[in-house]
């Protein structure tokens, strides 16, 4: 979910779906609705206009759920420190389980982060996760 980002991280997430990097071989599948997924990939420093929508989306996901902040902007606000319309990171709006830094992070880094999260979740005896972006 793009929470006001420049689209750089979003392109790298889509590139992670393409045959060259292919995140689907790890069991992660793109879903069209929050009601069917476990992991939310969020990019961008959350803009004020997006803030209620992020919160609503998070509420609609069924438990157990994880939010992954992809990119430096989603982690800490990134380069938009003096911008008045941003919250400064996804964790200011919803709780975040994993951070993938980078501007933008390479598709390999995104896959690495998601796989680490899924492995950690599996190790705490959670069912395998399906992913939504």
């Amino acid at each position: 979910m793009n929470c006001g980002s420049c689209n750089g991280c979003d392109i790298e997430i889509v590139a992670a779906l393409t045959p060259v990097y292919d995140i689907e071989r790890f069991g992660a599948v793109l879903q069209g609705t929050p009601r069917h997924c476990d992991v939310l990939l969020a990019t961008g420093p959350v803009s004020r206009q997006m803030e209620p929508r992020v919160k609503r989306l998070y509420d609609q996901m069924p438990d157990p759920k994880f939010v992954v902040a992809v990119g430096t902007c989603a982690s800490t606000g990134g380069v938009y420190q003096e911008c008045y319309n941003t919250l400064g990171g996804v964790d200011k709006a919803v709780p975040v389980a994993a951070y993938i830094p980078g501007c933008p992070p390479r598709p390999e880094a995104i896959i690495d982060g998601v796989v680490k999260l899924i492995t950690a979740a599996r190790q705490s005896a959670e069912p395998p996760a399906e992913e939504e972006t």
Binding site: Q49, E51, K55, Y84
Partner: protein, 166 residues
Amino acid sequence: MEVKTLDEMITKLGSLVSVTEPKNYPLDRYVDVSPDNLIPAVQKLKEHGVTHLSTIPAYECDEGYRLLYIMSVPVKDGKWGKMTIVVTLDKNKPEIESLTSEIPGAEYYEREVFDMLGITFHNHPDHRRLLSPDIMPDDVFPLRKDITYQEIRDRLAAEAKVRYEE
């Protein structure tokens, strides 16, 4: 009818405009126009094949609010010169006639100027903010010099607390 250079276009505009100091680049010219002469100047430009308005930057300076209308004038060799019409508005009276009657494409640019600086455009078809979030207070215009980004941020945070907690 086409003109060969931007300076020729300025000569044709005659008394509607007054030239500011010529900049160094042959495809860039800036002309000062009073707010009442804006529409006649644009009409004159349209007679010479000018149709494209690129954007309307606006800023606040000591003399008031300044709007720049960046128009593309076809000149020789198939090139487009940038004729920038500079209009200065009084700080206490930030109003001007909308350009949408002559150039419909100006609609969004004028909305953005209103959103950022609070300048009112008369006879605009859809006079509301363009980019600011729903919770932006009506008296805050972000690009004015009398407010800093921290203040805007604090006011938005206060509004968000009130609106989203109910």
